[in-house]
Symmetry: D2
Subunit: 222 residues, 4 copies
């Protein structure tokens, strides 16, 4: 059984930008070693190069455009994040939506560069559709849980369960992450028990006084 995957999205939080991204990367590295969990971080684009060169930690972009190198000012190519040292990318995060065609193009572009794709979705039918595109991971972010501070265990966990089933029935090679409502080790445990392969989370780690302590708590029930 592969290790549980914990992916920390640094968004554009000040607490996760520049030198402060390094602090989180260092903590991720340490807790991953201690626990055997796979812990990745998704910093801002500008921090992908320095973080991936200073820490042995899987670094993800927060978004990638499915365009080839060329006349695409301001866009993010899979080639460019790969050269900067990234391991993969989020695609279609709730704060950075893509068209259906562009989503597919991003997943394909990542696959061609042997980068890991984490495709974000908002409900069960969208998760099924996402699975049909063949990403490495589908990360389900139920809108009612995003940034709510409400634990997935207290909210109705059915959306996770039905999404896992929907993804598996379309393409059983696609892994699933619980993408919102993760505050603690208890939540991670529930996410895994619901059949997902890990979690995608943000503020509870990034805004913590001690990110390492939060990460240790997150992996504590595995």
């Amino acid at each position: 059984m592969p290790p549980v995957f914990i992916l920390v999205n640094l968004k554009t939080y000040l607490e996760g930008t520049g030198q402060r991204a390094h602090r989180i990367a260092a903590a991720a590295r340490e807790v991953a070693e201690e626990s055997g969990a796979m812990i990745g971080i998704a910093p801002g684009y500008m921090d992908i190069h320095p973080v991936s060169h200073h820490y042995e930690v899987p670094v993800f972009a927060q978004h990638v455009d499915g365009v080839s190198p060329g006349a695409y000012t301001g866009h993010i190519t899979a080639e460019a994040i790969r050269q900067a040292g990234a391991t993969g990318s989020l695609v279609n995060h709730s704060e950075r939506r893509l068209t259906l065609a562009a989503t597919e193009a991003s997943v394909v572009a990542l696959r061609q560069k042997k980068l890991i794709s984490v495709l974000c979705t908002n409900n069960t039918p969208v998760s099924a559709a996402a699975a049909a595109l063949g990403p490495d991971y589908v990360a389900i972010e139920p809108p009612e849980l995003i940034g709510s501070g409400v634990s997935v265990s207290k909210a109705n966990p059915d959306i996770i369960r039905t999404s896992v089933e929907a993804v598996r029935s379309v393409n059983d090679r696609v892994k699933v992450l619980t993408g919102a409502g993760i505050q603690s080790g208890e939540c991670v445990r529930i996410a895994v028990d619901l059949g997902t392969d890990g979690v995608l989370l943000a503020s509870s780690v990034v805004k913590a006084d001690d990110p390492g302590q939060v990460l240790r708590d997150l992996v504590s029930k595995l």
Copy 2:
């Protein structure tokens, strides 16, 4: 076996706007009666009301937003097109792309109002993803055929064949339209032989001197 469906997208062509939309609606009505084919037209939003009130022809919107009635200035609700007399709508046309989440919301909004959804796609994996959303139709528009004047019979028809298979394997209640490369009755015949339930086309009817004649040709090999 249900009748073949021929859906004519009037786009924003001058030849399909205002009074000139009526001419095409009248031809569609006439040829549908003669042939038994189902012929729908998708005029501009402003023409949905007058056309649907003057002609017994299925009228489609060219786009619909998956939003509820409310503070959505400039948007198109399923409720509003229904009240205007529409039978259904295109969704995610290549000239009016939506995010994956918005695409799903549009399909759901149409379904809730008992309107027909025709969801446009650009390749095989996207067609599979579209099928997972459960629209009434998936219309495959291979980008290399859009507006090309190249017949689907002369281009590689494999994208249609593999898309039909992909759609069926995900959700076999979803019907499929060939959405580009349709110039003649021969093309419609091939589209049906490739396993699709009809065609989505535009300029060859809209820009014709005699739309009725073109429509008669389109249904001539059925």
Copy 3:
């Protein structure tokens, strides 16, 4: 001095869709005749044709794309709204933003069809920029007032005053509307006293049990 302009945006409110748009159009017509104010309504696209054919009231689209007739599925051309009977259009409403280049193209497209452009803005520098594009009206919608129920008279009216100055200094042929925070005749009076040529408003009329009564109140202090 030209009459004060009161433009009622029906958005996609159920209370302003289909037959219910007619009720508001009838009230607008009546109160305009009684008072001498210019009262326009901006219904959904599908209602432009029936409303403009049944009522002698200036009808506006809620959005227009600055594209020529052609292969623009799901778009709104100035030509199409003109043929449907519109007098003008909102452009760049806060719920339907456009790029700077597309905003300019919409204003030009409306001007070429002799339609009135009402270009929405959110603050003083944007209002100055908007004026440089030469629309007929700039409608200032301070974000903190939109849908707030807070009257422009109680909030800080400086944004209206500085926007009027900024617009006039760039192009003094451009008229200005107060685009948010309008609840009553008192608010309209203040809007005019602040130097604007009228108001753009929505829910207080559209959602009223008796839209005519609200419109009468709005013009009561002029």
Copy 4:
């Protein structure tokens, strides 16, 4: 008189990504020292940090979002590019358009971080509107010249001349760049003679076998 500004946009060209961006930065540094011209480069986001740390050359982002640090996954904040070492940013490039409101927000965000804003425009009225937002530079990219290989000197230079006048009449502290149609030192000379303060260009430098040689030619007639 300030030095002429030559800004090289590396877009997402392979020839300007990763290590290959360094080669162009080195050439820019060298030719700037020799000639006294100000030569900046705008690499991909991931290359801002390494390039600005290895070369004494003004580094620009290709785009910036006018959002504050926070929950904006996949976005680019002014704070983040500043921390990575950037001197400024392009805004609203023709390949990365923004809404009018977002354009203003980006210009303000850059100003607050004391970063240089280069706001791209497509014609004379849009240039006037851009000037009203108070960026440091307006870069005019006439659509018919972008990537055309046609020199601004051979095409009609009137759009540059009228744009300079329009910008100056709205805000005479805003400097202007000629943003397309620059192939040679002769073109740069013409751009300066037309009243602009420099040029924005891309492929002729980025795709050159010897970028330093092209840069030397560009500054040769100053």
